[in-house]
């Protein structure tokens, strides 16, 4: 009988092409001929693992990797640093001679080798602060990503860490062509993050949404004004920067919702001078500004077009006007925390603007 091992290469290629990624990994373990064959196969010939989400959590004693399949099933692999072992379902493997972080990275490398579709979300949770050195997971992962030239294709990249040093390196893991949402979660409130270097990265420049609860320092308005949605923490902001942001929002066709959280805001007088009188409700001050043009509404809201078509010409102006969006800026001080301010920019329906509030014209300043 002819053995599978003796098949011509292009036939094995076809067999692999019709197998799923788990079967290929099983085949790889069958014998060294298959292993060599699969290891030397081009990525394009391998099947897509079609995973949707990956979450890597590095704790003091263990690393847990959670992988979600496109059919909503999920896999959890536990790597114990103390026992140097890997546990997946009922199967436990001991590694006598390998560093367990190497095992994690090797497994990840396989997952990435088979991933052709874009992940919805890739998240890293780094809680092993004392271990941030050359043997840490992000450094090793960085090495394999650089060696393979294969960036992680994901829509969302989320990094939770108590140490800002791995952030730049980890942001580089993501393929800038697919990355839309960047999330940085700080596990230590005292850490400040300098945006300078990060904001020059292609991944940052091409992303659409940002959530960063590290307090950012040394940043420029231009660093963040390309995002459509922003949630960011900072120490404070000057009236001048805030006005730059307002202008950027009004002229941007993408800006939707920007949220700034800060400890200090002493620029009320200057802002009132720049923006004119505010509409005050409880502990918030609100300003409304007309957008530069109506492109934004035409792009996003079909309702206004519909009402325009169906109504008399006299009414259509009214409807068009009412469904128009304006920029609302709210400066809010938390009651109970003196050092806690929010400034929120968002698009707002003109018809919902409260009575008594002034809608400032675009060219007001």
């Amino acid at each position: 009988m002819t053995s599978l091992v003796e098949m011509p290469e292009h036939i094995l290629d076809k067999v692999i092409g019709h197998s799923n990624f788990k079967d290929v990994l099983s085949l790889r373990q069958v014998c060294r001929d298959f292993r060599n064959f699969i290891d030397n196969s081009k990525d394009s010939k391998l099947p897509d693992s079609k995973f949707v989400k990956i979450e890597i959590s590095c704790m003091k004693d263990e690393i847990i990797s959670k992988i979600e399949d496109s059919d909503d099933s999920s896999h959890e692999i536990e790597y114990s640093k103390t026992k140097n072992s890997r546990k997946y379902q009922e199967k436990k493997t001991m590694f006598k001679n390998s560093n367990i972080v190497d095992v994690v990275v090797r497994d990840l490398e396989w997952i990435l080798k088979f991933q052709k579709s874009t992940f919805e979300e890739v998240s890293f949770y780094l809680d092993d602060i004392e271990n941030q050195n050359d043997t840490s997971i992000h450094t090793k992962l960085n090495n394999i990503i650089n060696a393979s030239g294969r960036k992680i294709k994901t829509t969302e990249l989320s990094i939770s860490t108590g140490d800002k040093s791995p952030i730049i390196q980890m942001l580089q893991f993501a393929d800038p062509e697919t990355l839309k949402i960047i999330q940085f979660f700080s596990m230590d409130d005292s850490i400040q993050l300098e945006l300078g270097g990060i904001a020059r990265m292609e991944q940052w420049k091409k992303a659409k949404e940002l959530k960063c609860d590290f307090r950012v320092v040394n940043w420029q308005v231009d660093d963040i004004s390309h995002f459509s949605k922003i949630t960011i923490a900072m120490n404070s902001i000057s009236a001048r920067d805030l006005d730059f942001l307002r202008k950027a929002f009004l002229t941007s066709s993408k800006a939707k919702r920007w949220f700034f959280e800060m400890r200090m805001f002493n620029e009320n007088q200057e802002i009132l001078r720049l923006w004119g009188p505010a509409f005050d409700i409880e502990n918030s001050r609100q300003w409304y500004f007309r957008m530069k043009d109506s492109e934004k509404e035409e792009d996003d809201s079909d309702d206004s077009v519909g009402s325009e078509d169906s109504d008399d010409s006299d009414d259509s102006d009214y409807f068009e006007e009412a469904s128009r969006e304006v920029l609302r800026i709210v400066v809010f001080q938390e009651d109970h925390f003196e050092q806690h301010y929010h400034i929120r920019f968002n698009t707002f329906e003109l018809r919902a603007v409260p009575d008594g509030a002034i809608v400032h014209n675009y060219n007001g300043n």
């Binding site: 009988m1 002819t2 053995s3 599978l4 091992v5 098949m7 011509p8 036939i11 076809k14 067999v15 692999i16 092409g17 019709h18 197998s19 799923n20 788990k22 079967d23 099983s26 085949l27 373990q29 069958v30 014998c31 060294r32």
Partner: protein, 188 residues
């Protein structure tokens, strides 16, 4: 001649499928060619059915055989077992002039036959059938552990493989030593 009987009987189920095609293009009379495998049993197959095989198609397009010449010169495929060639011929007849469906469920489930079929189809360059066969092989691997795959396809483990290699090397070494000894004996 028993072989021609075999050939016509295998071609017979294909007759109904040829009818609409010849109705659509009545001016071209269908030509037939003959093939045989290792068992020398000759199969009569229409040129239309043989179109599936890039290899045979290439051969006949240059020949310009008459019916008699074709009959007198069946294509010999000594490397293909008779029953496997029969399967191939049946498949070609069934799928003559038709777009091939995305799945083919009539492939052999026994792995020995399937592998021989893969090799024959590969040799004859029947693209679609090769795709089905490879899908079928992939199906047989699906969900199996490395141990199970090894068992099903009779693949030795690396350790066994290495042992066999060592053994072969040893034997080769001994034979070489024997030869030199014999050569030395001759020299005397």
């Amino acid at each position: 001649m028993s072989s021609t009987e075999q050939g016509t009987s295998s071609a017979a189920p294909a007759e109904p499928t040829t009818a609409p095609e010849s109705a659509a293009a009545p001016e071209v009379p269908e030509s037939f060619y003959y093939v045989h495998g290792k068992d020398k049993v000759v199969h009569k197959v229409s040129a239309g059915a043989l179109q599936h095989s890039a290899l045979i198609h290439g051969m006949i397009s240059n020949l310009g055989y008459t019916e008699e010449q074709a009959k007198a010169n069946p294509f010999p495929f000594e490397n293909i077992d008779g029953d496997i060639l029969q399967m191939v011929v049946d498949w070609c007849n069934q799928h003559k002039g038709k777009p091939t469906p995305p799945e083919d469920t009539n492939l052999p489930k026994q792995k020995e036959k399937l592998f021989d079929l893969v090799l024959a189809v590969n040799y004859l360059e029947i693209k679609e059938l090769l795709t089905y066969c490879c899908k079928q092989v992939a199906m047989m691997v699906k969900g199996k552990s490395p141990e199970e795959i090894r068992e099903i396809w009779m693949i030795p483990t690396d350790a066994e493989d290495e042992a066999a290699e060592k053994e072969a090397k040893k034997r080769a070494g001994k034979e070489a030593a024997g030869e030199t000894a014999a050569a030395a004996g001759d020299a005397k």
